[in-house]
């Protein structure tokens, strides 16, 4: 049985090669009250950290120098598996419609183009956290019955 948690307890993993962006994301999330935020600048450690941290939400930058963001998105999706729901929000500077479609098709729950409006970003994060919480409640209810 998973103990019920409040939204601000959500574990958020942010992956971006740009420390300034990670700093911004941390600042915004902290301001919104999220207490468990992990940041990662080296995407090659993403799966490892994902397994270790067990996040409720992943924030993923798609354009990173050392790795193909889409491949990483795909492998994270496989890591989570079909029986679990860990929303992935893609952050990208690529505004093209193709990039959006591709990311969503690979399982991203939301996509935000950089530079983002911090309010919008915070609201979208809140939505995804809510989704995750609801999934966990449903799963817990199913486990109880």
């Amino acid at each position: 049985m998973i103990p019920p948690r409040s939204a601000t307890d959500a574990r958020i993993l942010a992956i971006d090669d740009e420390p300034a962006n990670l700093a911004l994301i941390s600042a915004v999330l902290l301001r919104e009250g999220y207490s468990q935020v992990e940041t990662l600048t080296d995407p090659r450690q993403a799966t490892e950290r994902h397994l270790a941290f067990g996040p409720d939400l992943v924030l993923l930058d798609l354009m990173m120098p050392s790795i193909d963001g889409y491949a990483l998105l795909d492998s994270l999706g496989r890591l989570i598996g079909p029986d679990d729901l860990v929303p992935i929000m893609v952050l990208t500077a690529d505004t093209s419609i193709e990039a959006k479609r591709r990311a969503l098709a690979l399982g991203a729950r939301d996509i935000v183009t950089k530079p983002f409006d911090v309010f919008e970003f915070a609201l979208r994060v809140a939505n995804l956290v809510e989704l995750r919480m609801m999934f966990q409640r449903v799963k817990a209810a199913a486990a109880l019955s």
Binding site: A20, A93, D94, T113, K114
Partner: protein
């Protein structure tokens, strides 16, 4: 003279000539017959003369004999007085006149007539003398001697008889002469006849020979000559000009000579044509044209072939054309080409070929099989072009294209990276500035103003980046356009709506002319972008409290939008630079904060949608600017107003209490159909079966109004279910569902299906099919 006759003869028609040839011997023969007849007539007359002479002689002798017998009788009587001696006298008295009469009728000779007259006279005297003697005897009786008269009479008689005898002898002498003469004549006539007969025979012979000669010379020889001419003609040789007659044979000869001349003229024309053709072929320089025998050996060669391949005709004729193919398998490849040409009639090939000097060239080769009228393969024609240059050009072009593509790809990658590289730092700048702004309550006024400046500058930079990248994308052809029919009026209203806050802040009124609503072929989002841009400019560069008018019209098959403002307008000298990047008009520069890329981007977008954009001074002469753009009209004629009308149509199914049986094993499809049914037919009851057998049972139990049947079911084929349903409930409409587009093509209507729908299911098609099936049933 002879020549004239010969000409005359030659000119006669053949009928005349035949007549002459036949008539000449015939005439000679007729002449002979006539001559022989005349001769025989002469001969018979001569014979008759001879016979007459002999008869005259006999008669004369008879007269003489009669008189002599009469005389001796009289003498006997005189001596004896016996009457029996008087008999000869009496016979003479009776016969002599008869005979002399006959003689007179027969004698034609004058001398003989004279003799006869004298004989007659003497015979008269004799008979008279005898009668005198007889009278004297009667008077005197037996004593005759005593009577002198008797003696005297006897003497006189004797004299007369002698004279008569003399006369008869002379006459006979005359007749003998005549007989001899006539017999001579007869002999002469016979001799003459013999001669004439001989002569005529000779003439007949000569005449026949002459006729044959005529025939031979006039006809046979000329026919023979004609025959020889015909042989010459058949051999295609020219006939000599010759003097010929004007009869049929002559005309035939003339025609043959004409035919010969015509043939010669044609032959010459043909030869000249062939010569010309050969010269043309030989003279062609750009194409190697040559012929091959059926085995592939070169039999002809032209200048072009020599130029392209380097071989001279005398070097290559007779060699196999595989010489031109490089590589070890030259023979096989060349023969394969020939085989292709034999099979298809013609084959075209491109590839490397080898020159005499061993260098290679890229050739285009067309080999055509040459067949005679009987279809027999006579060889091949081969046309070769050296297209090495063209191939190089093509390769260069291909290379250039690849380079361009690579460059384009590189540009895309660059754009994408640039976007990322520019946006990433901006993200932090704007993000932190926003955070600081949120916490400004604790900050000094100057600090708050600084944050405001950072935010404003950052946003301006972001807008610049976006527009620069958009323009770059359009120029690189990387901006995906989704061209669809767009109702222009609606988009204009939307743009006006979005521009209103900005306009209101400047106290500027926007007047929209919504009279006409053409449907244009455009990307809706990009069209809106252009409209917003033009409206934004019209507001920005307007005077406070001014007006902006936007209108649309159709002109020359294109939609034209005009945005007019009441600003100060554009200096005509600067109008040309309006659509260049970063051109900002001096007048407005001071107080406007556009990126300076709006018009450039608008132009790029409009042109990418197949339209045009431009600036004109206001047509009404008032102060202000007018920007316009044109877009192609959508080919589709249906206007958006019709769509809601269709959607609002009352579905018959909607108002009825329905039972729909759905036989479908795919859960997702079943859910989709149930969802559609719930929305469109709220009173419908959906019964779902995942298996065919269960479906049939449910059909029996529920008596549905409609069946939706998947053709691919786990237990039985939908095909079989359809058959069962059609048999049990012939009125029950069945709509088939299948993912197999090919199966959907089959003739299901004849097997009782109302409609066939392919998956994925088009909701509109499903609604229509259900509606049609139920509507049909209700009737």
């Amino acid at each position: 003279m002879v020549r004239g006759i010969a000409n005359w003869w030659a000119n006669r028609p053949l009928a005349t000539k035949g007549l002459v040839v036949v008539a000449v011997p015939l005439l000679i023969f007729l002449g002979s017959v006539a001559a022989l007849y005349a001769i025989s007539r002469q001969e018979s007359r001569a014979e008759q003369d001879v016979r007459l002479t002999i008869a005259i002689q006999n008669d004369v002798n008879e007269v003489h004999a009669l008189l002599a017998e009469a005389s001796s009788g009289v003498r006997g009587y005189l001596l004896t007085g016996e009457p029996r001696f008087l008999e000869p006298y009496q016979r003479a008295e009776q016969l002599v006149p008869q005979v002399t009469r006959r003689l007179r009728g027969a004698i034609r000779d004058a001398e003989a007539s004279a003799h006869l007259a004298r004989i007659e006279a003497l015979a008269g005297q004799k008979r008279e003398g005898l009668s005198v003697l007889l009278a004297a005897r009667r008077r005197t009786g037996a004593d005759i001697v005593a009577d002198p008269t008797i003696a005297a009479g006897l003497a006189a008689n004797k004299q007369v008889l002698d004279a008569l005898r003399g006369e008869i002898e002379r006459m006979q002498e005359r007749e003998r002469e005549l007989l001899a003469a006539r017999q001579d004549r007869l002999n002469e006539v016979r001799r003459n006849g013999l001669f004439v007969t001989g002569l005529l025979t000779l003439a007949g012979l000569v005449g026949s020979l002459f006729a044959v000669f005529l025939f031979s010379s006039g006809i046979v020889r000329r026919v023979q000559r004609l025959e020889r001419d015909a042989v010459l003609l058949a051999q295609g040789e020219a006939l000599p000009e010759r003097e010929v007659g004007r009869d049929e044979i002559g005309l035939l000869a003339v025609r043959m000579t004409e035919a010969s001349a015509l043939l010669r003229a044609r032959e010459q024309a043909l030869r000249e044509g062939e010569e010309r053709f050969r010269l043309v072929i030989e003279g062609v320089r750009d194409y190697g044209i040559f012929a091959l025998d059926p085995q592939g050996h070169v039999v002809s060669w032209n200048t072009g072939a020599e130029r392209i391949k380097g071989w001279k005709a005398e070097e290559i004729v007779g060699r196999h054309f595989s010489t031109f193919y490089p590589g070890d398998d030259a023979r096989e490849r060349s023969m394969r080409n020939l085989a292709d040409a034999v099979r298809d009639g013609r084959t075209e090939d491109e590839g490397w070929r080898i020159r005499k000097d061993g260098t290679l060239f890229w050739a285009n080769v067309v080999i055509t099989a040459l067949r005679d009228e009987g279809g027999e393969l006579r060889g091949f024609s081969k046309v070769t072009r050296d297209i090495t240059e063209r191939r190089r050009a093509q390769e260069a072009l291909e290379h250039a294209r690849q380079e361009a593509e690579e460059a384009s790809t590189a540009k895309s990658v660059f754009l994408s990276r640039m976007s990322h590289e520019l946006r990433t730092p901006l993200n932090a700048i704007l993000g932190f500035a926003q955070l600081m702004e949120l916490d400004r309550s604790g900050r000094a006024g100057s600090e708050a103003a600084s944050i405001d400046q950072i935010l404003r500058a950052g946003r301006h930079l972001l807008a610049l980046i976006d527009e620069v990248l958009d323009i770059a994308r359009i120029e690189a052809g990387k901006l995906g356009m989704d061209i669809i029919p767009v109702p222009l009026g609606e988009t204009m209203s939307e743009a006006v709506g979005l521009s209103l806050p900005e306009a209101e802040s400047q106290r500027i009124a926007i007047i929209q002319n919504v009279g006409h609503q053409p449907v244009v072929a455009a990307d809706r989002r990009r069209l809106l972008q252009v409209l917003l841009n033009l409206l934004s400019n019209a507001i920005k560069y307007n005077r406070p409290g001014g007006e902006v008018a936007i209108s649309a019209a159709v002109r020359d098959g294109r939609a034209r939008v005009e945005v007019t403002d009441t600003g100060i307008g554009v200096d005509p000298e600067q109008a040309g630079d309006l659509f260049q990047p970063f051109t900002r008009l001096a007048a407005g520069a001071a107080r406007t904060e556009g990126t300076g890329l709006g018009l450039s981007l608008s132009r790029a977008l409009v042109e990418a949608m197949g339209g045009a954009i431009g600036y004109t001074p206001r047509a009404d002469g008032l102060e202000g600017a007018c920007f316009w753009f044109e877009l192609p009209l959508a080919a589709q004629t249906s206007t958006p107003e019709q769509v809601p009308a269709k959607a609002a149509r009352a579905w018959p199914a909607a108002s009825r209490r329905l039972t729909i049986l759905l036989i479908e094993d795919n859960l997702a499809n079943a859910q989709l159909i149930e969802a559609v049914a719930a929305r469109h037919w709220p009173r419908a009851h959906i019964v779902n079966a995942m298996q065919a057998s269960l479906g049939l049972n449910l059909a029996l139990r529920h008596r549905p109004d409609l069946v939706l049947l998947d053709l691919h079911l786990p237990d039985k084929d939908g095909d079989w279910v359809l058959e069962q349903l059609a048999r049990a409930y012939p009125d029950l409409p069945v709509i088939l569902l299948t993912a197999d587009a090919l199966a959907a093509q089959a003739d299901w209507a004849s097997r009782g299906a109302a409609a066939v729908l392919t998956k994925p299911i088009d909701v509109a098609a499903l609604l229509e099919a259900v509606d049609a099936a139920l509507g049909e049933r209700a009737q």
